[in-house]
C-alpha cells in the first residue's frame, strides 16, 4: 500500500504516523501542505495530529484551505482512503469530508491520557483488524475534541453505522461518546484518539497496531 502523510506547519504527529504505517508495511511519502497534488498511486492519505497553523481561527480551519487539502478532498471523492487523527480529524470536518465539528472540551482542559475506546463497527478497512465491541486503549491529547453534530446528522450516522469508535468513559463531552466517525463510503475515518501512539511496546500499549495492520491487509488481498 502506498500512503502519504500530510505535513502542515505545526503538525507534530506526522513522523509517528509515518513510523506506524511503515511498521505495518506501507510505503510512506511525506507531502507538504503547499504541494498541490499527491504522489501518483497513493492509496491512503493520513492527516496527522498537531496544531496546524497554530490552531488559529479554529482548529484545522486554515489547514483545510491549503493546496494539499484540495488534493486530499479530490482523492477522497475518487474513493481513496483518508485517515485523520486528532488535528487531522478537525481538518477533515473543516473540509466537509466528515460531518460535524470539534469544539472545546466540555471540561475546558487539555486532556492528555490513555483512554478506553469501544470499536463500534468493524466493517470498514480501518476497523477490520478488530471485532465489534472490542475495547482498545489509545492515547488522547487534545483541547478541542468535543465532537458535535446536529440531531438529524447523528441519526444518519447511527442508522448507517458510521460511528467507528466511542469512548468508554467520555473525557471531552462528545455527543453520543463519539471518538471516531466514518464517511458515507466508509473510506474516510476521523478520530481524536491516536492509534499511531499505540503501536510499539515502548508506547505503553500496542492496541493501535490492529488498525494499521487491518488496513494494510485490505490492500494485500485486493
Amino acid at each position: 500500500m502506498r500512503a502519504a502523510v500530510v505535513v502542515f506547519p505545526g503538525s507534530n504527529c506526522d513522523r509517528d504516523m509515518a513510523v506506524a504505517l511503515k511498521a505495518a508495511g506501507a510505503d510512506v511519502t511525506m507531502v507538504w501542505h503547499k504541494d498541490a497534488s499527491l504522489p501518483d498511486g497513493v492509496d491512503l492519505v493520513a492527516v496527522p495530529g498537531g496544531f496546524s497553523f497554530g490552531d488559529y481561527l479554529r482548529c484545522g480551519a486554515i489547514a483545510a484551505q491549503s493546496p494539499i487539502c484540495q488534493a486530499v478532498v479530490a482523492h477522497a471523492n475518487r474513493g481513496g482512503y483518508v485517515l485523520g487523527v486528532c488535528n487531522g480529524f478537525q481538518v477533515l470536518t473543516e473540509t466537509g469530508l466528515l460531518p460535524g465539528a470539534l469544539m472545546r472540551n466540555s471540561g475546558l482542559k487539555f486532556i492528555c491520557k490513555t483512554v478506553d475506546l469501544k470499536v463500534e463497527k468493524s466493517d470498514s478497512a480501518f476497523t477490520e483488524g478488530y471485532n465489534t465491541g472490542d475495547i482498545v486503549a489509545y492515547p488522547v491529547a487534545h483541547h478541542d475534541g468535543n465532537y458535535t453534530v446536529d440531531d438529524d446528522t447523528l441519526s444518519q450516522l447511527r442508522d448507517a453505522n458510521r460511528i467507528a469508535f466511542t469512548y468508554c468513559d467520555n473525557p471531552n463531552g462528545s455527543v453520543a461518546d463519539i471518538a471516531g466517525v466514518l464517511s458515507e463510503n466508509r473510506r474516510v475515518l476521523g478520530m481524536m484518539p491516536h492509534p499511531e501512539r499505540a503501536v510499539d511496546a515502548g508506547h505503553g500499549g500496542t492496541d493501535g497496531q490492529a488498525l494499521f495492520r487491518g488496513l494494510l491487509a485490505q490492500f494485500a488481498t485486493a
Binding site: L57, R58, P99, A101, N105, G107, L108, T148, D150
Partner: protein, 76 residues
C-alpha cells in the same frame, strides 16, 4: 472600506467557555448573570466596493464554521 464580522456559536450549541466566564463572574460577586456566550469579532480591511456577497462568501468558506457557528456582517 472596513467590515466587521461577528461570529457566535449557534443557539443550542453548548458554550463551555462562556459557561466558565459566567461562573467566574458569579465568584467575583456579580449577581444575576444568567448566561454568557463568547464569540469572535473579525475586522476586515477591504478594497472599496467589495460587495456584501463577497464578504458573506468569506464567512461561509473560512471565517465561520456554519456547522456550529452563526455570523453577522457589519459594513462600516
Amino acid at each position: 472600506m472596513k467590515a466587521r464580522v461577528h461570529v457566535m456559536l449557534k443557539n443550542g450549541v453548548l458554550d463551555p467557555q462562556g459557561e466558565a466566564v459566567r461562573h467566574a463572574l458569579g465568584s467575583l460577586g456579580f449577581e444575576g448573570v444568567s448566561g454568557v456566550r463568547q464569540g469572535k469579532v473579525i475586522e476586515l480591511d477591504l478594497a472599496d466596493g467589495t460587495s456584501e456577497a463577497t464578504i458573506t462568501q468569506m464567512c461561509e468558506k473560512l471565517l465561520a464554521n456554519t456547522v456550529i457557528e452563526s455570523y453577522k456582517v457589519e459594513v462600516l
